[in-house]
């Protein structure tokens, strides 16, 4: 018979069963309208729930992106200071954060899709509910109970199908939101426990601590490194002359000049 026909029959059967339960067809109209309004509320709450989850994931993405940027800077600073071991550590942590980020970005897109679908479903249902209300008043005012029956049947079956469809969409969105909450909760816990935080900020940040210590204690060493790099570059093509000239006049940016010098060396 085909999938399409069979799915249609299941929807129809559902509507017919509900119709059979109603004794007075006019009562059916009012009762059904109430149910429609309730479903409309439910789908709007669903949209709000999905949006809340989406925003939470968005916040986590922002936090992880900051961490990623910071680790990237630390890796560069470490390399600039000749500490490949520290740079390697920073990049390893960065890779861990990147895989979390990719996962979150996939989830974000999926939630965004759910939100759009539910919003559209809510608009479609609203249009049908409005149409049903108008139809309901006309039927109640114009027809006797017996005449009303067939007219009610069509309208009821039509709206019932829409409601079934919207109900399914809400279920799918709820499932996705529940999965998302579990994941977001796990990441929040990681952050709260310090496992993620440790890597990048605060007093626990060992990479930054090491960089700071070197910055304070090894100014002479770094100056020597910089000079070595400059001399070494005398024989290499001097592509970044301008940047080095600027750094000579400005001691504060010595570290970045060294870094550039070394990056130039490596190439």
């Amino acid at each position: 018979m085909g999938v399409m026909k069979r799915v249609t029959m299941v929807f129809r059967a559902k509507a017919n069963k509900a119709l059979d339960r109603m004794e007075d067809p006019r009562e059916t109209l009012d009762y059904s309208y109430q149910t429609q309004l309730e479903l409309l509320q439910k789908v709007r709450r669903g949209v709000a729930d999905v949006a809340t989850s989406r925003k939470r994931v968005e916040l986590q993405i922002n936090q992880l992106q900051q961490s990623e940027g910071k680790l990237d800077r630390q890796a560069r600073d470490s390399l600039g200071a000749g500490r490949e071991d520290l740079a390697r550590e920073a990049l390893t942590r960065k890779a861990g954060i990147q895989s979390q980020l990719e996962d979150l970005q996939t989830q974000y897109a999926s939630l965004q899709g759910e939100e759009e679908k539910l919003t559209a479903a809510s608009q479609r249902l609203q249009a049908k509910v409005d149409a049903f209300r108008t139809r309901k008043e006309t039927i109640k005012a114009t027809y006797t109970a017996a005449e009303a029956q067939t007219r009610i049947n069509e309208a009821f079956t039509g709206i019932s199908e829409e409601m079934g469809d919207v109900g399914l969409a809400i279920q799918r969105a709820e499932d996705k939101t529940a999965q998302m909450r579990a994941r977001a909760g796990a990441i929040d816990e990681l952050m709260a426990s310090g496992a993620l935080e440790d890597m990048v900020s605060g007093p626990h940040d060992d990479i930054q601590a090491e960089l700071d210590r070197m910055g304070a204690g090894q100014g002479v060493d770094r100056e020597l490194e910089r000079m070595k790099a400059e001399i070494a570059q005398g024989s290499a093509p001097r592509q970044i002359e301008g940047a080095q000239g600027a750094s000579d006049a400005e001691p504060a940016s010595t570290a970045s000049a060294v870094e550039q010098g070394q990056a130039g060396d490596g190439e």
Partner: protein, 92 residues
């Protein structure tokens, strides 16, 4: 005739497309019956693509029930099975 794509709404589809849609639907049904995952997704996507191609969105304030209902684009085979079962997935 009116065709609904679950999760997307109703479309007005010319009767002349019925045969072609039924053929695509038969392929989908056979994939579900054989539990053929590899054939299921392409069959569903082909059916959906054709319905969208020949259909135009029905008036939103229309209260007519659909003649045919197509599962949503991201439906799994399991979800389609449940849809086909009485009192399976549809809430209410």
């Amino acid at each position: 005739m009116i065709v609904r794509i679950l999760g997307e709404g109703q479309l007005e589809v010319p009767e002349s497309a019925a045969d072609e849609l039924n053929q695509l639907d038969a392929a989908l049904e056979s994939a579900v019956e054989r539990s053929d995952e590899a054939a299921f997704q392409p069959a569903l996507q082909a059916l959906l693509a054709r319905v969208r191609e020949v259909g135009t969105p029905a008036k939103p304030d229309e209260l007519k029930p659909s003649e045919l209902i197509v599962p949503q684009a991201d439906a799994t085979m399991d979800e389609v099975r449940k849809l086909l079962a009485d009192d399976g997935l549809i809430p209410g």
